[in-house]
Symmetry: C2
Subunit: 544 residues, 2 copies
């Protein structure tokens, strides 16, 4: 009997030799042997080829159940190439972990924005909202965690079959099974407190913000290489530091591996070519400003060592390398992150947690779907205003000017004032057309930027939810009600709910202020048009 597997997540083939598979589909395996994280088989449409091993779950008959144990001893293999890596050469793909962890010499390398050797989700904000794919993409949430300690196995409950699930990769499972251990200093402690609306991160006692100046173009190697440098000035030091996009990138990788259930804001899209073009630079800067805003307003992220190092370390190369090395050797990543969390005294009700998480999952799914529609609509609206609306108003303006030109052929003195007024009205409409074309950058683009940032968060949450759900499932499956297991599950739940609460608060704050900004801009725009028309109207009273 042929070996079958059930597909856990949608996978779309992108290269020759691969096949697309759909969630819940049954595929026939040609062999149980994985090849660098890939399996070969045939899907239900009769297509044969490769697909990521971690996207499917092998089905074994009850008769062969005894051989099941063999699976749990599956070694951790190389991850299947991620979407972003697959498009690149095999060599650079393999280097990515190394680069992300970085050697001290990296900063002097030709490791530029356009380098393929950085492992940040790219193009995420413009991708369609494939929720299950987002949930499962291996390597999306910091592929560096895989070297986490997963050796000790003293747990009384079984391990996950899928060694590539986020629950495992994030260190959630290891922590739950009591395998995490590290020295936690007081300064590393993160408090979840019980707020009005449930668990929340303890409020930031030393809030600060950070400005990002217009980037400047820098060159090195006698002008052979050029890059953009951003001046950052955090309010708590008021000292400017200069950072390149690759520094943000490095920081992002550190944060993702450091904080398993925190939604680290995505960096704005990378762009390999034309990255010095004004529009792109301006858009990336706005994206970085939003990113910074979400970093500094997050009570946990804002004060973590690596971010502070990034914000405050000056031009001293040695100090920088020291902090960099420290961050890369940080022990409190993944599973150990949970060791740093202090929870409220009274443990949460598991059922309530489950219902809250379920509600949030539904919410994020809907929000993700709907902001895609909003984004498409306002981008289309912006395009229409910049093209069609502008053209229509300008055509009307031109036709009024034509009318005035015809009228000017009549030399009656009493007609002169009218002719000028009509010509002026024509110019007014042309100007209104220009205003329509300029307006989207003031009131639609900012919403679009915000939606991009939120699409990043929404792409993070399936993994976060996955970790919490993995813990909850483990606890439910546990034959004896182990106190320690419950405690650890409670820690994960508290952190997850605190992060969800933080998301909601930030969301309400951001969308309120952004909608207000949008409306104020629109009001200003229509007032400007009204004033222009009033000005034109006045011309009809002159010279009468």
């Amino acid at each position: 009997m042929a070996l079958k597997a059930r597909v856990l997540y949608d996978f779309n083939s992108e290269n020759p030799g691969e096949i697309s598979i759909r969630e819940n589909e049954l595929v026939t395996l040609f062999s149980e042997e994985e090849l660098e994280g890939w399996l070969e088989g045939e899907n239900s449409r009769g297509e044969a080829g490769l697909f990521p091993a971690s996207y499917v779950e092998i089905i074994r008959d009850h008769i062969t159940a005894s051989s099941n144990n063999g699976l749990s001893s599956l070694k951790v293999k190389a991850l299947p190439p991620t979407h972003s890596q697959r498009g690149l050469g095999a060599g650079s793909g393999g280097d990515s972990f190394h680069t992300s962890q970085g050697s001290d010499d990296d900063w002097d390398d030709e490791w530029d924005d356009s380098s393929p050797a950085t492992d940040v989700p790219q193009g995420l904000s413009s991708a369609p909202p494939l929720y299950p794919v987002t949930t499962s993409l291996p390597g999306r949430r910091g592929s560096a965690q895989q070297h986490q300690q997963q050796a000790k196995s003293s747990a009384t409950v079984g391990r996950n079959l899928n060694r590539f699930s986020t629950f495992v990769k994030s260190g959630g499972e290891a922590f739950l099974l009591g395998e995490a251990s590290a020295c936690v200093r007081d300064g590393d402690r993160i408090c979840v407190v019980m707020g009005k609306h449930g668990p929340e991160w303890q409020e930031d006692p030393y809030p600060f913000t950070c400005t990002i100046d217009d980037p400047t173009k820098q060159t090195k190697f006698k002008g052979m290489k050029s890059y953009m440098s951003y001046g950052l000035t955090p309010t708590h030091t008021n000292v400017q530091v200069n950072r390149r996009y690759k520094h943000f990138d490095w920081l992002y990788a550190r944060l993702v591996e450091r904080f398993p259930v925190i939604s680290v804001p995505h960096l704005p899209e990378k762009q390999a070519t034309g990255r010095f073009e004004e529009d792109f630079i301006s858009k990336r800067r706005k994206g970085l400003i939003w990113w910074m805003n979400h970093m500094t307003s997050h009570p946990v992220l804002a004060h973590c060592d690596v971010f502070q190092h990034f914000l405050t370390c000056g031009a001293d190369e040695k100090a920088w390398k020291q902090g960099k090395r420290k961050a890369e050797r940080d022990e409190l990543v993944g599973a150990n992150f949970f060791l740093t969390i202090s929870t409220p005294d009274v443990p949460l009700d598991l059922q309530e947690v489950e219902s809250k998480i379920e509600g949030f999952k539904t919410f994020t799914k809907r929000m993700d779907e709907n902001i895609v529609v909003v984004n498409t609509t306002i981008n289309e609206f912006a395009r229409k205003q910049m093209a069609g609306f502008k053209k229509e108003y300008q055509k009307v303006g031109q036709s009024f000017k034509l009318l005035a030109q015809a009228f000017e052929m009549d030399q009656q003195a009493y007609s002169g004032g009218l002719n000028k007024a009509i010509a002026y009205t024509g110019e007014t409409y042309e100007a209104i057309g220009e205003h329509f074309a300029e307006q989207p950058r003031h009131d639609l683009d900012p919403i679009s930027d915000l939606l991009d940032l939120y699409r990043g968060h929404l792409a993070n949450f399936p993994d976060i939810i996955h970790v919490q759900k993995g813990a909850l499932t483990k606890v439910k499956d546990c034959p004896k009600q182990e106190g320690e297991l419950h405690n650890r599950c409670n820690i994960i739940s508290c952190a997850t709910l605190a992060e969800i609460q933080h998301f909601h608060r930030t969301r309400v704050r951001d969308f309120r202020s952004q909608m207000q900004h949008h409306l104020r801009q629109q009001i200003g725009f229509f007032q400007k048009i009204t004033a222009k028309l009033e000005d034109a109207l006045q011309r009809y009273d002159e010279d009468q």
Copy 2:
């Protein structure tokens, strides 16, 4: 040698057997024999067929010049069918003059708006501005004049070769040649005075206006026939009279034959089918209001007997018929109209007149061309606002509502106010879309209605100019400087310039007020939008 003819005016073939010919083109005639006003020949593109005899001028060699005199004795033949008649059956076309002059019983006939037997230019306002065609179309300016006295021939200067030219048809030639004679009462006298800007009609000492109520649907023959009745209330009597479109139509025909060099405003378009539809009724009423405005504000037209009869005669059938018969038997039409005109003491300088007329001709041509562009543009703009603009704003509104719906899935208390505000913003944008769709009827349609009216005037002026130019040419050709001929030419020039002056005054008045109206409406529109957005913005402060 084949007989050739030079084309005087463009003619577009509309029926099988006809060929199109262009101004200045040379056509080869198959025969000099006309067949009911048509000639047969071949145009320069080698097409053979029929074209109106009056649109060409036969070219005779110098050798055959002696036979040229034969041309001047050509008898007045039936006019070639006009464009509007040609589309109809031969029978009804032939009846049109009869009907236009009307028997007393006509009012009880089934002579309804949709009857083909009325000879009013139709669809003129929507036709492209074919200036030369407009100049020449026989029958356009009241075909009833052809029965004018043209018998007496005591003039010392030659007659026009083209017996169908407007100069001849209008009675201009007959008047100039001293052939007009009628009894002019004091009440019929029309004064041209010398104003600041040249000759003008003496100001109306008893100005009045006239309102047109919403039309009501009337039926007769036990509901078998239905028609719309308009209630007219002139301010100088303040008594309402009821008139049907056919009454306007009859009046129009009387005015056109009565006043050769006055631009009688065209009636709004007729429409055979669907004439009870709300939009059409509303559009026709607006057209009639504009028409009435131009009638009552014209010093000559406003007080002429037939118009006063139309405005003031009540439901007394006998009185109506009496006035109707009187108008139809009016002797002071065509050539005799000029007998009623008193001119300023000092005659005009012929050269100056010529230059003014030439300037006006250029002006009208340009104005006609340009208002076609304006009309097309604003109609397209209206269409865009009613479709595209509306759709875009509504799509944005709907997408905001979707965002609010997603947010409502989150039950956080502090999110409620924001959710409502975003939903309200969505509704606001939907409403703004509706406003965009409704706006054109307030600020673009009125301009379009005005342009329609002016396209009618511009179509009238080529004929008016033609009459004046015909007179001027005659005077220049005159071997002896005949005092009487000069006097009569001066009368025609004075009347023409007075009419042109009136046109300019009315144009400046109308376009000033209409542009002001347009801008005020636009300002109100954008203020309304601004207020709606401000209302939406306030919602974000509530419940916070």
